[in-house]
């Protein structure tokens, strides 16, 4: 009857709906999801339902692995079958500063072997803080016929022979980006390994290398690679050689010069100036090793469209910078050495209204006797002129709470605030107070803050502020700070988005370590070195949280009960099997 019919029709509507849902074609879903580029969005999409999980994994071509030990090669290749591009990060960040034992791990080779089998069409490999040797580079070069892009940042274990293998075998290479690695630089002949027929290179960055290179080979290479848009030379390339290269590569978008200090005669200078000004597309300029003030004007007519200027290897004085900047009003990113001093930074504030990122590196970080460098005044001056500033890395020898409060008032949009007062534990140089209020101001005012590095004398109060206010904080670096366990507990109890916490030389002990039990699985990693954590504390953590890997590295001659260096990270791969003897896995 009616009701029966109604009921039936209801049922059929329901079944229609479910049929409608599951008949949504996979191909369409995959096509839609393939537009998602951000790996976080992709992770979110994969969690919606099984269909979406599968559609996402079949459509993913680029996999990002932030901790190479958090997952195993087998798991990765089982889930994703169509990967073309892999980004892998290995050692904890403090390995950049020699705090991690040399043979700690993060070797790429096992990954390459699996990729050769499962991703023979791999095109891109981007590694950060991984160990890679020449044999691995050679294996890479011959195993992937479509290989296009290799980027090595802060890696170690290889030599220029490995680069020669890449040059020799990778016929389709478009990108070779070698940055800040610990390379064994045997010589520049690797450049001549690119065959005569090879023309595809678009990105070449070998600024990392110290030895002389085969300039002839380089000149010919640049001449035949017409699509080259990024060229970053090493220091051995002279100004005169630079001019010859530029004549052949006027379409460069990013240029890293070699040494900028050769003595030139007038004609040579004019030729250089002309070659530089022909590069109408140039938006990024770096290198400028040993730049002499008198040659900097060669840069003025060129690069009026510069958005990124990296002067961090050019020991410029304040006047030289002040003369250079008025031509660079479009600058968004500026890296300098502290030789420019506060006066130089004043010039930055006056001339770079669009500045978004500023990094000031120390020219003489280890010399106590140096009285110049930059101070709180320089930073404040920049903040008044550059309201869009959101990324800062600032090495200085003195700072005040008041200055930082002013700075963040002028620039409330900081996402990355990395302040390094170079003397550990140094207080506010005017009031002698701890720097607690400075970082309090940062976290209270800069609600978008994602990354924070603290320094100076800090009590637990700083960490109370951070825990309470830094709602978007993802990365926190702490050194020589805090008064008790309470400080670290505040951070672990607050900061809902915390992913990476790295701590050295702080009075945080087991109570602090264990207070983060529930948190560590939502984080990528925790590093604690030279703190008060003991082996027993680590063992307890390992027992309570079996899905975390707890690694302890001991110092020579330290007490058996101390856990000198602790590295805690979540992993679905279980404890790693390639740890050296100096690393204890609990």
């Amino acid at each position: 009857m009616e009701s029966f019919e109604l009921k039936r029709s209801k049922d059929s509507v329901n079944s229609d709906q479910s049929a409608h849902w599951s008949s949504f074609p996979d191909e369409v879903l995959e096509r839609v999801l393939s537009r998602l580029k951000s790996h976080r969005d992709r992770s979110s999409a994969s969690l919606v339902c099984k269909d979406w999980y599968h559609a996402e994994r079949w459509s993913r071509t680029n996999v990002f692995i932030g901790n190479c030990y958090s997952v195993s090669q087998e798991i990765v290749v089982r889930r994703f079958s169509r990967i073309r591009s892999v980004t892998l990060k290995g050692k904890p960040r403090f390995s950049d500063f020699n705090l991690v034992p040399e043979n700690w791990g993060a070797n790429i080779h096992a990954w390459l072997v699996v990729f050769a089998a499962k991703y023979p069409f791999l095109e891109e490999l981007r590694l950060k803080r991984m160990a890679i040797n020449d044999q691995s580079l050679e294996f890479l070069a011959v195993s992937f016929p479509n290989f296009k892009a290799l980027s090595l940042l802060s890696c170690d274990g290889f030599s220029t022979n490995g680069l020669a293998a890449i040059a020799t075998h990778c016929k389709n290479l478009t990108e070779l980006d070698i940055q800040e690695n610990d390379i064994d630089d045997i010589g520049g002949s690797w450049l001549s390994c690119f065959p005569e027929s090879f023309t595809s290179l678009e990105v070449l960055n070998f600024a990392n290398l110290t030895s002389d290179i085969n300039f002839d080979a380089l000149e010919k290479l640049v001449g035949r690679c017409k699509s080259m848009r990024v060229l970053k030379l090493n220091r051995s390339v002279s100004l005169e050689q630079l001019q010859r290269l530029l004549v052949n590569a006027p379409r460069l978008a990013e240029l890293g010069t070699g040494s900028f200090s050769q003595e030139l005669i007038v004609r040579e200078y004019e030729e250089l100036e002309s070659a530089l000004s022909n590069c109408k597309n140039m938006h990024t300029l770096s290198g400028l090793w040993d730049a002499k003030g008198i040659y900097l004007p060669a840069l003025y007519p060129a690069c009026t469209h510069l958005t990124f200027l990296n002067l961090s290897y050019a020991a410029l004085q304040s006047l030289e910078l002040a003369k250079l900047l008025p031509h660079r009003r479009r600058l968004k990113h500026l890296w300098v050495l502290d030789t420019v001093e506060d006066k130089g930074l004043e010039a930055v504030g006056l001339n770079c209204p669009l500045l978004e990122e500023l990094r000031v590196f120390p020219a003489d970080p280890f010399d106590d006797e140096i009285v110049h460098g930059v101070t709180d005044a320089g930073f404040v001056a920049v903040s008044f002129g550059c309201p869009r500033l959101h990324y800062v890395l600032y090495f200085c020898r003195q700072m005040t709470n008041a200055a930082v409060a002013t700075i963040v008032q002028n620039c409330p949009d900081f996402t990355h605030f990395r302040l390094c007062i170079m003397n550990p534990g140094q207080p506010d140089h005017l009031t002698n107070e701890p720097m607690d209020e400075a970082f309090g101001a940062v976290v209270k005012t800069c609600t978008k803050l994602q990354r924070l590095s603290v320094s100076g004398r800090l009590t637990d109060r700083t960490f109370e502020y951070i825990g309470r206010y830094a709602k978007n904080l993802e990365t926190l670096s702490v050194a020589f700070a805090g008064s008790s366990d309470w400080g670290m507990q505040c951070v672990l109890g607050g900061c809902p988005k915390l992913r990476k916490l790295e701590i050295r030389d702080c009075p945080f002990g087991n109570a602090a370590l264990l207070s983060g039990l529930e948190k560590y699985e939502s984080m990528r990693s925790l590093w604690m070195s030279a703190c008060n954590v003991t082996m027993n504390g680590c063992r307890l953590l390992a027992r309570e949280m079996p899905r975390l890997n707890i690694e302890v590295m001991k110092e020579d001659g330290s007490d058996d009960s101390q856990a000198d260096k602790v590295y805690v990270y979540r992993s679905i791969a279980g404890p790693r099997r390639d740890a050296p003897r100096s690393v204890l896995t609990l």
């Binding site: 950049d96 500063f97 020699n98 705090l99 040399e102 802060s154 800040e180 690695n181 610990d182 002839d216 005169e240 050689q241 050769q262 040579e268 090793w289 040993d290 002499k292 961090s312 290897y313 020991a315 004085q317 050495l337 590196f361 120390p362 020219a363 003489d364 970080p365 280890f366 010399d367 106590d368 006797e369 090495f395 390094c420 170079m422 003397n423 550990p424 534990g425 140094q426 207080p427 140089h429 002698n432 004398r457 050194a479 020589f480 008064s483 050295r504 030389d505 009075p507 945080f508 002990g509 030279a530 008060n532 110092e555 020579d556 001659g557 330290s558 007490d559 009960s561 101390q562 000198d564």
Partner: protein, 317 residues
Amino acid sequence: MSKPIEHDYIGLSEQPLPSMEKSSDTNDKKNGLRLKDTELRLGLPGSDSPEREDHDQNVLSLKSFVPGAKRGFSDALDGGGKWVFSGGSGGGSEGLFSPRGGGKNNGGNDLSGPDSGLGGPVLKDGAAQKPQVVQEKKSQRVAGSIHGNGITAAPAPTRAQVVGWPPIRSFRKNTMASHPSKNDDDDNAEANLGSECLYVKVSMDGAPYLRKVDLKISGSYKELSSALEKMFSCFTIGQCGSNGVSSRDGLSESRLIDLLHSSEYVLTYEDKDGDWMLVGDVPWEMFTNSCKRLRIMKSTEAIGLAPRAMEKCQNRT
């Protein structure tokens, strides 16, 4: 629970410090008690008893950044003074202090005077914890700091570095180390402010551009001349045309030596007074102290130099 262990702050020791290996009293540490360490010493640096000194050499040569020492050393820092490290080990980086230049490192900056009192770090958990020893990975400065060529450099920076601080990547550290920033006139030789290199410009008549050579790396005239040969062997005199660098093919390195020996060229230097002298007339140390720049000049232009060099030498006491 073991007793907290206190360490005295120690200033510089006059003795060269051995590298930090296991300390000599590892045995003691097994008990967690190191009674000797807990004794407060109020003496000035260097005035300790011999047995203590020996221990100190191995263990306490580094100012600790021991955690829980926070209160200890923050008391000591109340003077608002700088945090000073002493000692260092065989790492040989630019922060390594010189055992001989003790003068300005004592006293003032030192935290080990009688005032520091309980300024020793207080350790929790009873373990002796030492800050990490300076180990500069593949630092280019290793050679520089151990040169015994008698150059009286300004005393090296006073504090030993804590490993990995300030947090700067090795590449940048090594790069800045080999080329210290210049603050004055380009034509002067690099000032010797605690840096372990002495770069002077070398120009060669007819060569398209200058090179720089580190006088400290060469310990003698012989080494200097072979360094120069390597540098300038690529230039064929008379073939350097408008295109600058000539091809390196087919040139023998001995060409420069030939040129020098054939007296077509002489090696000269400009000294502090601005005079041009022949290289080789004065003792090596004196030469490196006074040399501002080098020039490989045609011998036709060098006539008349030699006598002046000798005179000058005699005029100096």
